[in-house]
Symmetry: C2
Subunit: 295 residues, 2 copies
């Protein structure tokens, strides 16, 4: 399978898994379930589950079902953060992936609760699986790390730094800190969850840490570059970062230096996986995809 086929195969795997949740439940709160599914099943790149599957395959993880459940939990948390990010009280975005945002369709109140519901569901399905199918310390560690990555030490901490950033007073260090938390923490979890689950941190953590940190930063730099280069219509989402005058890699570094940083992150990420040889081919191609993807 070439890169594109493998990527699609991973994407289909997570899409199919996500469809198995929120089935025939809570007839009385159908609007909530509709709202949750509207965002959760709206597609998207599924880059976090894809990373988790690819690392699992690279290290020869035999816990497929556990990885599937944590990949779904991770994507639920990511999806919940998008719903809340788009709210009028935050970025006030009306479009995402070419479609009206959750609160535009279902109203603010429902969107707030839909985000909350996805957060709780993530931990419910993961803990259910650990209890009933995979009672191992490594799986509990994955649960712990998921909570930590999503909270103030990770994603929500980064969202706060982002919200308080003053474009003209944001330097590169603060920007890297913000992104390492806001988007980097969940990407780092995606890359490392398989080694928590298999209890093989002593073997793989060093290399995967370098890979995840650099792929995470590359992902965000590229996002900022795409946002900068794209108009609202082309990208299918409002370019709210520019509109709200937030600090991005492009506003802080300028376009050319941002691109240099992107290439440096790509090189470092790839170097870290050299010991894995052929087995790393998908993750190397994924790094190239992050660097080169278009609008």
């Amino acid at each position: 399978m070439d890169f594109k086929q493998q990527f699609e195969s991973y994407k289909t795997r997570i899409d199919n898994r996500l469809k198995t949740y929120f089935q025939d439940e809570c007839e009385e709160c159908k609007t909530l379930i509709d709202s949750v599914k509207y965002s959760l099943l709206a597609g998207g790149k599924r880059i976090r589950p894809v990373l988790m599957y690819a690392v699992s395959d690279m290290i020869g993880c035999a816990e497929d079902r556990t990885v599937d459940v944590f990949a779904a939990a991770l994507e639920m948390i990511h999806s919940s953060s998008l719903i809340h990010d788009d709210l009028p009280g935050m970025d006030n975005d009306s479009l995402r992936r070419g479609l009206p945002t959750n609160h535009v369709v279902y109203g603010e109140g429902t969107a707030i609760i839909a985000g909350d519901t996805l957060m709780f569901k993530a931990f419910e399905i993961a803990a259910d699986h650990v209890y009933n199918k995979s009672f191992k310390k490594g799986s509990v560690k994955a649960l712990w790390m998921l909570g930590e990555a999503a909270g103030h030490k990770g994603m929500t901490g980064g969202q706060m730094i982002d919200m308080e950033s003053i474009p003209d007073k944001t330097d590169l260090n603060r920007l890297i800190l913000m992104n390492s938390k806001k988007t980097g923490a969940l990407i780092d979890f995606a890359v490392k969850a398989p080694i928590y689950i298999t209890e093989t941190e002593h073997i793989h953590e060093k290399a995967l840490d370098v890979y995840s940190k650099n792929i995470g930063q590359a992902f965000q730099i590229k996002d900022d570059i795409l946002d900068y280069e794209s108009s609202e219509e082309e990208l299918g989402k409002s370019t709210s970062d520019e509109r709200n005058r937030k600090a991005t890699y492009v506003t802080v570094l300028g376009l050319n230096t941002a691109k240099e940083h992107l290439y440096a992150c790509y090189d470092t990420a790839c170097s870290a996986l050299k010991p894995y040889g052929e087995k790393a081919s998908f993750l190397l191609a994924l790094a190239a995809y992050v660097k080169d993807r278009g609008k």
Copy 2:
């Protein structure tokens, strides 16, 4: 110790534990931490942790530390739900416990993220504890049940039913369903967490289920009665349910029938604990407190 002293002692225990979290963390997102602490440490009745401690003592649970952590996690989730409930997109309340609500002080964006942060922190501290201190199936079950109670099968499902309720078209069944989810699910978790943790469901679940369902309903009926009887100034929170014309036990049943239901719930809750004799005295007194408490 009499009831009041014991209640205060439990309350001090959870207050002291909650103060140990969010210390010296995330200098760069200090506003977020301030906002989280503003709501989490604002006092409140702490009825859920008190229930959890009391049941633990009644059944002779030796896992004090585990109960402490899950009590804190539960209170974090409760606190997060209050922050989100008060948002302009939901109940739009500006006062809670006599103080300005979180979004009034910190802004909507920060309040949304503060709620999210508390949700994630709850699972982080619980899973951290299970991994590092209490690696037992019962503790993982408690994690699982916490996620389920907070999500759409429980709290957020109930919030949705509440939001969609039309006062004149809400009957008693729907009201009971709504409250059993919105407030009952977390109360039920509080009562049962000790038997998950100690893996003693086969001994205690039947009696505790009756107690929790009835104390949960009694708690909500009494809340509705107090809301009805109180003015905004007296209760220290806006009486938004009345203002927003939501269905309550008083609007659906009338004041007198609501009181009859309250007394019936109280009687049933107390009967369920008869087999525990003297050991149930605090939980019986707590049921009376729920029934008789003033504004």
